[in-house]
């Protein structure tokens, strides 16, 4: 039976590098996935992933071995990504409260009679990547944790250090925000198509 994460942490603290190597093997894909979805750049994501493991190693003494290791490393990953993105000023922070919640639902008046008209699946895949990058980091992180790592609200709450209720509210807003960006992109595409057709 494979040793638990917490056991590996303990062994690492005792000076066993193989234990830490095993931890890297276990979490490298997960860490890289979060970093890649947050940045959408392979090199940078890998760089962030390395930084995450170095940070984990350096701060192992802070880890409470009575708790689970996974949320801890995921939280470090998300924080590292956000810090890196803010340093590079790639993201303009949007106050969700001001921009979204005080407005009427953007899709309330949309004609959903034919979903296939609203979204083309292949286009949606492309748009989604871009739309994710336009979201505030906290929303982006939340969506990545939920849909890429398949985490529950409670797990996300543990990872991000917020309450489960807060996660529910934010998740709903993140989805609405994502929908808004996606529809805007669809509208732009449609307008470009109409313009080119009229010419």
């Amino acid at each position: 039976m494979a040793p638990s994460d917490e056991r590996l942490v303990h062994e690492t603290m005792q000076g066993n590098p193989q234990a830490f190597e095993e931890l890297v093997h276990r979490y490298q894909r997960q860490v890289f996935t979060i970093a890649y979805r947050m940045t959408n750049q392979r090199e940078e994501a890998e760089d962030i992933a390395q930084e995450v493991f170095i940070t984990v190693f350096q701060k192992l003494y802070q880890f409470d071995t009575s708790r689970r290791f996974a949320p801890w490393i995921q939280r470090i990953t998300v924080n590292t990504c956000i810090t890196r993105l803010r340093k590079k000023k790639k993201v303009v922070l949007v106050n969700f409260e001001d921009n979204i919640s005080n407005r009427t639902d953007p899709f309330i008046n949309i004609d959903y009679n034919d979903p296939a008209v609203v979204y083309d699946r292949e286009e949606l895949k492309l748009d989604l990547k871009e739309a994710l990058l336009q979201l505030p980091e906290s929303y982006r992180a939340m969506l990545i944790l939920r849909y890429q790592l398949d985490m529950s609200n409670q797990e996300i709450a543990d990872t991000l250090g917020i309450t489960r209720e807060n996660v529910e509210v934010k998740m709903h807003r993140a989805r609405k925000s994502l929908r808004k960006v996606l529809l805007e992109r669809q509208d732009e595409r449609r307008q470009r198509g109409e313009l080119s057709a009229s010419r």
């Binding site: 490298q28 979805r37 493991f53 959903y112 034919d114 398949d150």
Partner: protein, 343 residues
């Protein structure tokens, strides 16, 4: 359940994370609401695409090795189980706002300046003392027979007028400056080896009780080092700079009675014995005058050979006239430069 309530829970419905009771309620509503059904279709499509991970590239094959290399190569070899300095610093940085700390420090400094606290007085005292000490250290290093280059680097003029009290205090810490045997005979590097000298060769006393003047040339040609320093009871100071191959430059500084007793004053002009008759170097010190040096000066300089040139000048320091004579086999321009740098 109305459309707005359904809309709020629709993504949870698609995620399959809804309580069975709520799920059944939503399903009931969807049966009768085509708008929400379409909304559900869109939400499902988004959820499905959000879950896709086939576009995520693979990690490089040596990722784990890279991490372990960085970990073992010093990024954190001594890290786990202990707090590094960097961690401590970052924790302190997080705990104390640098702006606030900087502001407090600035206010304290301003307050200290305003009230002129004893701390500042001590600081000022320390500055002046350290200056004197520095001069003394320089003197020691010049005469200590260390490497020629080091001596050359430390060669320079130190002119210092100290108040009686200050000089006394400094003398306590630096016995060689106290100089009860100020005018004693020479301290020769050749006879005393490389031990630290206790002489005060660079200190010539004009008024022993109240002031002393340190005279040394700022400029010494490359390769010359202080080989010998002598002073006598009259306050004359003799410095001999030599090279490894034996050539020497002799600098003699002696107090005189004001107007030169042997030569007429030639303001702003320096002439030499054996150099070109028309050789002139403009004076740079306001209270100085250059005089034509005679054979007497050459003999006083000591060690001057027949093919050597002698350059001399006088300089006034605090109403005391000093005669500076530089002799050696160097070109006249070099000797003049050395003499000029003594001022």
């Amino acid at each position: 359940m109305n459309c707005q309530q359904v809309d709020k829970m629709l993504y949870l419905f698609c995620d399959g994370r809804l309580h069975p009771y709520l799920r059944s309620q939503i399903e009931k509503h969807l049966e009768n609401c085509p708008g929400c059904r379409n909304n559900l279709a869109i939400t499902s499509m988004e959820t499905e695409v959000l879950r896709l991970s086939d576009d995520i590239p693979p990690l490089s094959g040596d990722f784990c090795q890279k991490v372990m290399l960085r970990v073992t190569e010093g990024c954190g070899t001594e890290v786990y189980g202990s707090r590094t300095k960097r961690n401590t610093f970052s924790e302190l940085k997080n705990r104390f706002n640098p702006g606030i700390v900087g502001g407090i420090v600035a206010v304290l400094v301003l307050l200290a300046l305003i009230i002129k606290s004893p701390v500042l007085s001590v600081f000022e005292y320390g500055q002046s003392s350290s200056h004197l000490k520095h001069s003394a250290d320089q003197s020691i290093s010049v005469g200590s027979g260390q490497s020629p280059k080091a001596q050359q680097l430390t060669a320079g003029v130190r002119e210092r007028k100290a108040e009686p009290g200050e000089a006394e205090t400094t003398a306590d810490s630096e016995p060689q400056l106290n100089a009860p045997d100020y005018g004693r005979a020479s301290t020769d590097a050749s006879t005393h080896g490389r031990s630290a000298p206790s002489f005060a060769p660079q200190v010539s006393a004009t008024n022993m009780t109240s002031r002393f003047t340190v005279v040394r040339p700022y400029y010494i040609p490359a390769g010359y080092y202080l080989a010998r320093a002598e002073s006598d009871t009259t306050g004359a100071l003799s410095l001999i700079y030599a090279t490894e191959d034996g050539s020497q430059v002799h600098v003699l500084v002696r107090p005189t009675g004001g107007d030169d007793e042997t030569s007429p004053l030639v303001p702003s002009k320096m002439s030499t014995l054996s150099g070109s008759d028309s050789e002139t170097v403009p004076g740079t010190v306001t209270k100085s005058s250059f005089v034509d040096s005679q054979q007497q000066a050459r003999s006083e300089a000591g060690g001057a050979q027949n093919n050597e040139s002698v350059v001399s000048c006088t300089v006034y320091v605090d109403d005391q006239c000093y005669r500076i004579e530089v002799s050696g086999s160097l070109p006249v321009e070099e000797l003049a430069r050395i003499a000029d740098s003594c001022k």
